[in-house]
């Protein structure tokens, strides 16, 4: 049957920073497929999670699933980190050889009424792993350090978040509006923004 092996990918990171893992990917492998060494290291193959996922799983269906899912099904890791560490953590994840999260896919911002949340979505092309890093931002403080010198495409993403949510990015090279006109008042995707209605 399937070899089950769980590796904590962020073991080293946990030792260095104060992070909390919120979600771990489920990956399924065909029993015929041999893993290469990198995949073995990066793996958490969880048949037990998969059976929890589907209650009606019998042995036969399991076999069927094994033959169908002969590729690694990627999912996403979610980490929650502290705001002060974000630059160090991103730099570490980008440069260290065990992760190689070299690409910042996008930045997601969300107004959760009590606070704001930014998620950095990272992609490791070498190991085919995705990772989302969540940061909470207090509404009174309303600012965070920029990462545009680490990932250069974060420049435009941060300008967009500043435009629509009003979060200030410290040390950003060119922080101004990108979608709305320059003389626009307010930040439209905030929950407390009031849309002018005509009728």
């Amino acid at each position: 049957m399937i070899k089950i092996r769980e590796v904590d990918l962020f073991e080293n990171l946990k030792r260095k920073f104060d992070i909390r893992i919120e979600n771990c990917p489920r990956m399924f492998l065909d029993k015929g497929n041999e893993l290469n060494s990198v995949q073995k290291d990066m793996k958490c193959i969880v048949k037990r999670e998969y059976s929890a996922f589907d209650e009606h799983l019998t042995d036969d269906t399991e076999l069927k699933c094994d033959t169908e899912l002969n590729h690694i099904k990627p999912d996403i890791y979610l980490l929650r980190v502290k705001k002060e560490d974000i630059r160090q953590i991103l730099r570490y994840l980008k440069n260290s050889e065990e992760y190689f999260f070299e690409r910042l896919d996008c930045m997601v911002c969300c107004d959760r009424k009590k606070d704001l949340e930014i998620m950095y979505l990272l992609q490791s092309d070498k190991y085919n792993v995705k990772c989302g890093i969540r940061v909470e931002i207090d509404k009174k403080e309303n600012q965070i350090a920029t990462v545009s010198d680490i990932f250069s495409n974060a420049n435009l993403e941060e300008r967009e978040i500043y435009d629509l949510f009003g979060i200030k990015f410290i040390n950003h090279p060119d922080l101004k509006r990108i979608f709305m006109p320059e003389d626009f008042v307010g930040h439209p995707l905030r929950k407390d923004f009031i849309i002018q209605r005509l009728n």
């Binding site: 979608f179 006109p181 923004f193 849309i195 209605r197 009728n199």
Partner: protein, 154 residues
């Protein structure tokens, strides 16, 4: 003298109605319909409006095809002001007429182009079929023919 002037006016009117050159201005899906109007199947050239000009100086007709956002509105106003008299405007599509589905809930869309520039013909649909754009053009021609709007060169 009166007879000569009136016949010249008629000539001007006839020539103006049959050469309403639109400006190439399209911001969203209505622009696709406008393109198909100018293509061979519907063929707006039958009404003398097939010449989509790239410059506002050479255009007589501004077809505002598509959603007008807040950031685009000063550019549209400038294009309209750069057009030479006499100039006519067709607001094409629900967004250009009133804001359409963005009217009540959008922060970035202008609620109707008539808040910025005067509009002669409204054509509300989402998006209008090519036939209806031809219909709007014919209605505009009728309007010009009936009312004899004051152009500077008559």
């Amino acid at each position: 003298m009166k007879i000569i002037m009136s016949s010249i006016e008629k000539l001007y009117k006839w020539s103006r109605l049959n050469s309403l050159w639109p400006l190439t201005y399209a911001t969203s899906c209505c622009g696709i319909e406008m393109m198909s109007v100018s293509a061979s199947n519907y063929d707006i050239a039958r009404f003398g409006s097939e010449v989509f000009r790239g410059s506002p100086r050479q255009a007589d007709l501004l077809i505002v095809a598509g959603t007008l956002t807040l950031k685009m509105s000063p550019i549209l106003l400038r294009l309209y002001e750069q057009m030479a008299e006499p100039k006519y405007v067709i607001a094409m599509g629900a967004c250009a007429c009133s804001g359409g589905m963005y009217r009540n809930s959008s922060y970035s869309v202008v609620k109707g182009v008539d808040t910025i520039i005067p509009v002669d013909i409204y054509l509300p649909m989402c998006p209008p079929k090519p036939e209806s754009l031809i219909d709007a053009l014919i209605k505009l021609r009728k309007k010009l023919n009936d009312k004899n709007p004051g152009g500077r060169f008559v």
